[in-house]
Structures are given as structure tokens and as C-alpha cells.
Subunit: 321 residues, 2 copies
């Protein structure tokens, strides 16, 4: 048995391979088998993380395991899907039992938190990278897409933004700060928590949704394009965490909230009549703007003036150095 086969067995035996609803056959055959209940559709998303591009070449494998699954599972939340399972394609330059054990623990922690089961994958030798494919179930026709925003809707997000981007100088050891701020920002970066409950609550209520991975303004652009509308983001309403505001000066913080990637909070549009129910149910809904006629995205100040920054795209961490 080769060392890579040993790894496969290691993951197959991990606690995250426990029985899960909908998993008819897990690891160990040519394919896994998923059962999908009548009236449901399967939501599928794939994400790749490459060492040196999406995370530092040298990083804590436990945190990497958490982040790899959290980032991908967030796409299920954005569709209003119930998480079920995932596959992992792991490419490693060499085999270190210590590294693998920590990585699998991190992956497993996130899997347990998300109620997801590892159902298959592939382990190969090569430059470090990971591809995670996630599976969830959603009632047919109820998935939250990007294409349904209507003029008159509210534009909302699921929580403070910018912490993921705010964490970058800490991830890269470029800056340091007090422990509580460091901890709060790094937790957001390394352990993004998919907003599954919010996604489920938005079914039948939100007209469009996605998770913020490219940055708020860029991702709002995706909704605007798919829906054929214009989104106005009110600058003073964009929520930011105390940690971000403690770590960055106001301009830096706002820039991180508007254009930083790695937040994995939901952004969505909502008819105003639906807001009260969501808030009453305790869902984290922050109204930050509105849907109007036109196209594209604009950032406006308290006077309604267009103050859209020129650059709004996502920067992989390497490109920010």
C-alpha cells in the first residue's frame, strides 16, 4: 500500500465520514452515491485553493482544513441549500503525518459544524492545492439565484464586512495588534462560518442572493448584471466590526468592507415587506441600500452623491503584497 493510499484510508476513517442524511454510499468505491428527496434539487459548487495564491505557502494545516471547507460550503448557504456532503481533492508535495492529522482535524471540525460528510476524493502528489466540491439540497425552484432582484427591493448583507480582508496583514505577518483584535480578524479569515440559517430563512423571501467572496461592490455587480437592475450601496450603512475599526483607520476599514474578498457573508435583495419577519426571527439582516432601475453598482454618500471608488475588485493575498 502506497503512502497516498494510506492517506486515503486516513481520510476515509476520519469522524467526518459519519453517516449523513442523503449519503447512500460514502468513500471507498468508484463513486459515492447521494439520494435526493422527491421535490428537491442538488446544489453543487467547486472551489480550489492554491498555496501561495489563496493561502500562504506556510500556514497552520488545522486552519487551512477549516477554511477550505468553510469557503466552499458558503456557496450552499448562498443558494438557500441544506448542506449534505463534500469531496476533497488534495494535492500534496510530500506526506507528513503531522500535517495531515492537523489538516484533517480542521476539516472535520468545519464538517461537523456544517453537518457535512466527506464522501470521496482523490489524493495526489504535486504542489499543494485543494479542490473542495460541496453538495446541498434545496426544494425544487426555491434556490436563491443572482437573477431575481426587483426595482424597489432592499439591498442587505448578513453581517459586518471587511474582516477577511482586514485579517490579511495579520495572515501575512505584516502588522500586529492587540490579541483580541488579532483573534477576531484571524477567526473570520481562517474559519469562515457559512450562513446556512440565514440562507434557509431567505428561501421564498429574498429575490436574489450570493455570498461575498470577491468583495461587496464586485459581488453586487454580479447581482445587478444577472438581474438587469442597478444597486445603490449607502456608504454609511455598510456594517463593520469593532475589530476592523480598531485595526484599520476609517478609510482602510471602509475599503476592506467594500472591496475586500474573503468575507463569505451573504448579500441579498429583499422586498421591504419581508424585512420585519426576518428581523423578528432573529436573522442578521443589515439593510445597506436599494435596487433601482438601471445597471451596475454605485456607492452613495449621505447626500445621495455617487462616491464609487475606482477599484473595487478582489485581490488575492499575493497581489496585495
Amino acid at each position: 500500500m502506497g503512502e497516498f493510499e494510506l492517506i486515503r484510508n486516513y481520510f476515509a476513517a476520519a469522524p467526518c465520514a459519519q453517516p449523513g442524511e442523503g449519503v447512500a454510499l460514502g468513500i471507498g468505491d468508484d463513486c459515492a452515491l447521494l439520494s435526493v428527496a422527491a421535490g428537491e434539487q442538488l446544489a453543487i459548487s467547486t472551489d480550489t485553493l492554491v498555496a501561495g495564491v489563496h493561502f500562504p505557502d506556510v500556514c497552520d494545516p488545522f486552519l487551512l482544513g477549516q477554511r477550505a471547507l468553510g469557503v466552499s460550503a458558503s456557496d450552499l448557504a448562498a443558494m438557500g441549500a441544506n448542506p449534505i456532503a463534500f469531496t476533497l481533492a488534495l494535492t500534496l508535495p510530500d506526506v507528513s503525518g503531522e500535517w495531515l492529522q492537523a489538516f484533517a482535524r480542521g476539516l472535520n471540525d468545519m464538517a461537523q459544524g456544517c453537518s457535512m460528510r466527506l464522501i470521496g476524493g482523490d489524493t495526489t502528489r504535486g504542489p499543494l492545492s485543494l479542490t473542495v466540491t460541496v453538495f446541498g439540497a434545496v426544494p425544487s425552484g426555491m434556490a436563491l439565484t443572482r437573477g431575481g432582484a426587483q426595482v424597489g427591493d432592499l439591498l442587505c448583507v448578513g453581517g459586518p464586512l471587511g474582516d477577511g480582508a482586514g485579517a490579511l496583514p495579520l495572515v501575512l505577518n505584516q502588522r500586529s495588534t492587540e490579541a483580541s483584535t488579532t483573534q477576531a480578524l484571524l477567526a473570520r479569515y481562517w474559519s469562515p462560518q457559512p450562513q446556512f440559517e440565514l440562507g434557509l430563512a431567505l428561501r421564498g423571501k429574498a429575490t436574489a442572493a450570493l455570498d461575498i467572496s470577491d468583495g461587496l461592490l464586485a459581488d453586487c455587480g454580479h447581482i445587478a448584471l444577472a438581474s438587469g437592475v442597478r444597486l445603490l450601496v449607502e456608504r454609511d450603512k455598510v456594517p463593520m466590526s469593532d475589530a476592523l475599526k480598531a485595526f484599520f483607520d476609517p478609510d482602510e476599514a471602509l475599503n476592506a468592507a467594500l472591496s475586500g474578498g474573503d468575507d463569505y457573508r451573504l448579500a441579498f435583495t429583499l422586498p421591504p415587506s419581508r424585512l420585519a419577519d426576518l428581523l423578528a426571527a432573529g436573522q442578521p439582516v443589515f439593510v445597506i441600500g436599494q435596487v433601482v432601475e438601471g445597471q451596475g453598482v454605485a456607492l452613495i454618500d449621505e447626500h445621495g452623491q455617487d462616491v464609487t471608488p475606482l477599484t473595487r475588485g478582489y485581490q488575492h493575498f499575493r497581489e496585495t503584497r
Copy 2:
């Protein structure tokens, strides 16, 4: 729009993104959505190919596109699943329009041949590698697993073996030979054709099945282990192509057929009573041995003597150099 977003759009517009049965939502949102018919399960498999490990660093992108999908889709055939769709996670060191166009053409050729639709993926910057995840449908409880082989069954394969391994010296430019042999062997390596029809025909007939990717003896070992039986492979019955026999001396050819990976033919076990129907239906069924009590795999000669070679594992091409 970044260059990698352009690539995503390029694949999204590729002809392989045509509507496919079961695909409710394709590329462009947070998730794709698959509909699974009542009474069916979804079969899922993931494979990664890394440059310098699974294919030469420099190779024809058209052929690589074909091979990447063919190798993964073969797992669906091995489960008796009908192919539906796939996702592609493509990591590239840089963006070359020419390379991408050829790669997408090869991928598309294979997708069309397999009636599969590209439903999503991810494109990232990094060392060249590809992770393909394939999706197929199979009636609930009818999937062909590795675990059902019964004492008394016949051991069969779906065609001549060893061509994939036989092609390696040609892939690596280590040897050359006449054009017709070269063409036959390279076609098997670069354009493996998943045996979907055979897989479907084996539903309800075969007791165990898989596709040969690690080499015949190693893969028979997987069936033996999962089924709790012993498999006897009759050396003189292992089918080999004329091209392989022309290119290799008899010992080399047999070794390629027994231990070479990259064949992607099906191996399966079958009650003797089921053989005639499959042959009458024109299915490529080659009986090469039998299932007996015990464990493991043995190669036997015409006298029933155990002639099992000491090494039987799969060698990635780098390891054979």
C-alpha cells in the same frame, strides 16, 4: 474583468455547456442545480491530474482535455450510472488563449461523446493541475459496487488491457514504432472511452464492478477485499491488443496488461448464467478467471499454478522513468 474571469466566461460559453438532462441550473451562479428523477441516486466521483505526475509537463492541451474528462467519467461507467454533468477546477500558471482554446476543444469533444454538460468550476492561478468531478444517475439500489462478488462467479473484463501502460514510452518519447501502432496506443492513453454502455448492461447482472485504473491485479484486489473472496486470474485469457503485442515483447506486454494503470476498462464479476445474454447483446465481455473462496488475487497458468508477479501496483508515469 480579470483574465481568469475571462477564462471562466470562455468555458461558460463553450458548446459543452449545452442543456443536459437533469441540469436545472448550469454555470454562473453560486451553485449549479441538478434534478434527480424519483427512484434514482446521484453517482459522484472526483479525480485530480497533476502536471509532471499524471501527464507530462509539456503535452497537447487538446489531448489533455479529452483525457481529464474521460478518466473521471470512467468511474460513472463502473457504477452503471448514466453520465449527466461535470465540474472542472483548472489551475494554470498563466493564461494562454491558444492553450485554453485547444484544451476546451478536447474537453468538449469528450463531453459531447459522453453526453455530459459542464455545470461549473473554478479557475485559479498556480501550478498546472485539473480536478474533474463527474455526476451520473443510477436507479436506487442498482449501482455496481465492488462488494458483491460471489464464489462461483466469473471474473471478466471489458476489453484488451495494457494499452494505456503500453503507450507510456510513446507519451514520454522514449521509444518509437510504426504509425498505426503508435496511433492505437496513444489513442487509448489520451482518449480513454468510458464503457458506459457496458456499465448499463451490467446493471442487475454483474455482482461487482470497477474500472481498471491501478492495473488489473491491483484493482482485482479491491474487489476481492470489498467482497471477501479470492479472485483467480488465468494468465492466458487476459486479452491484449495487436498494437500492444506488436510494440512490446510478450513479457512486457503481459506485465502492462496485468499491472499497468490507465486502462479504464471495466473489470467485473458475473454469475455464469448471465454471460450468454451479455454476449448476445454484443457487449465486450472477456472471461479471464473466477471467484473462489479465500482472499486476495492470484495469477494462474494453464496448469492452475500460481504465477503471481511480486509487483502489481500502479506506477505513475514519473515513477516509471
